[in-house]
Symmetry: C2
Subunit: 157 residues, 2 copies
DNA sequence: TAGTTCTCGACTAGAACAGTTGGTTAATTC
DNA sequence: GAATTAACCAACTGTTCTAGTCGAGAACTA
């Protein structure tokens, strides 16, 4: 599970879509203006989303994009997986079980990345677009960590 | 909380350090060879780790790096925060509460990224270097998602 | 003094990100 | 049927980050 600004842009746009679609298609031009993302970049992202069956498209005037499923059934994880290509296995890629065998059989940190990837995926697939729209994202929040005046990392335990 | 291969390299190196240090300093040359990471790149990373008080250094022959605290008290999150500079707030940066006010007061997905960042941080600070060394990273694991033959994303629920 | 190891800064090829440009195709409206 | 709308598509670009290289120096040990 890769986390990039690309995935975040896609989620922002999809939330916008979920918010402003009342059964009618929403044009990317509108989304671009509201979210202040370039139209052409959105086109690239929605190309991916369409190929992955997350949205459907309607061409021509009054056209645009529609959620393929309801906002409640579209999970944030689906959106991110659709736009972020599965990464090619470098050294020890979180998702795949191959790739991290240098000279040892399996790198020491393998389980850690695997587990972290699962945690992230579990969280993001527990959240639907509807949850985001209705601001139903539980706030455990609070300042959990800071940097001191010298720039060093300090945690508030 | 930024997740990059850079942070992963740092954690791999720190786990190596925790594994091979029996009170004596471990030279970066040894770590580089074992982990197959370039020495000069490691030097950059350990410069950051030292400035953030994660490791201490000993110069000269027989020198190297030592954990500043015990492996049990050094958390994976600390390592990653030390090497990954706090990102400059682009549009809606997960960590900081500023930055995502385009024309609205606060973007719809803000809470989502904030909460995700917290989830990741909580997980990574619950794991110490000792946990990784002793392979004590709980495996909720299993294949949670896949792509079908057309490359589309599908989840195993 | 020689050799080891850390320390520091500048530089680099390659990749990814975010966006641009310039088209085409399909549907609607005039 | 012509003009307009908006999805589609491909190639290209400036910027940033990654991962690494290179060179010089400073501290310590033998």
């Amino acid at each position: 599970m890769k986390l990039s600004t690309k995935g975040r842009y896609a989620v922002m746009a999809m939330v916008d879509l979920a918010t402003h679609s009342d059964g009618k298609p929403v044009s990317l031009g509108d989304v671009a203006e509201r979210q202040e993302i370039s139209l052409s970049y959105l086109e690239q992202l929605f190309g991916r989303l369409r190929k992955n069956g997350i949205v459907t498209s309607v061409r021509g005037p009054g056209g645009g994009y529609l959620l393929a499923r309801s906002a409640r059934d579209t999970r944030v994880a689906d959106v991110i997986l659709a736009v972020d290509e599965p990464i090619k296995a470098t050294r020890c890629t979180p998702g795949s079980s191959t790739g991290c065998r240098g000279r040892q059989q399996r790198c020491l940190t393998h389980d850690l990345w695997e587990e972290l990837g699962n945690q992230i995926y579990l969280f993001l697939s527990s959240v639907s677009l509807a949850d985001v729209v209705e601001r139903r994202v539980l706030g455990t929040s609070g300042m959990l960590f800071q940097r001191d005046h010298e720039g060093r990392v300090a945690a508030n335990r």
